[in-house]
Amino acid sequence: MTVLTFGRIVDICGAGVLDVAPQPDTDSLEAHLHGRYPELKGLTYVLAVDQKTITGNTPLHPSSVVAVLPPFSGG
């Protein structure tokens, strides 16, 4: 499945688009990403699934697009 990263998360993960083995839900996706990119654990971010930010564990489909969004700083 596709994971998009933005802002400082790109620097940590080394790419803006990550290819990740399919995960059943966002909790397991986060655990997977934390294993692969340990620096992520200390950072503030929210996840968006198919362009909607989520607040708790959320089921994922193989076609889901998950984005890792650090604090916004537009304007």
């Binding site: 998009l4 933005f6 802002g7 400082r8 968006a48 362009q51 984005a67 969004l69 650090p70 604090p71 916004f72 700083s73 537009g74 304007g75």
Partner: protein
């Protein structure tokens, strides 16, 4: 429901573009007040280095969807004639404009309050990121207060 509008533009927003936006409202004779907010890149000093510019990136489809929601919400709550938002992507140098919010209404309270709210919503909820680039080419991810 209106269709989703693009708000992103490559590089800075020029004063001439702003003037053109204002001029295009002369024919909308129900308007009595315009409120405009401009975000300009500030030469902050950090560790002795001066910000030379900010490079903006966005999660574009999500940002446009979110902006669409902000727009729909504002129009249900304020008696606005129109609203325009433009945000830069890519490099915007110190002294240049990266955000242009423009609301127009028959009366000033609606124009002013809506503009203020939209600016706050943009800062708080649009997935856009600015990377400050210093004179010595160091970089730092910007954080909104």
């Amino acid at each position: 429901m209106d269709k989703i509008k693009n708000i992103f533009t490559q590089g800075p927003i020029s004063p001439a573009f702003i003037a053109d936006s204002i001029a295009r409202h002369a024919s909308k004779t129900g308007i009595g007040a315009h409120s405009i907010f401009l975000g300009q890149v500030r030469a902050d000093i950090q560790g002795g280095q001066r910000v030379a510019g900010i490079e903006y990136t966005a999660y574009e489809p999500m940002a446009l969807e979110r902006m669409h929601e902000i727009r729909e919400d504002i129009f249900t709550r304020y008696d606005l004639t129109c609203m325009h938002v433009h945000h830069s992507l890519g490099l915007v140098k110190t002294g240049e404009v990266s955000l242009f919010v423009f609301t127009s209404a028959p009366h000033r309270r609606a124009a002013i309050d809506a503009c203020n709210e939209v600016v706050e919503s943009i800062k708080a909820s649009l997935p856009v990121w600015g990377k400050e680039i210093f004179d010595n080419q160091d970089t730092r991810w910007k954080e909104n207060r």
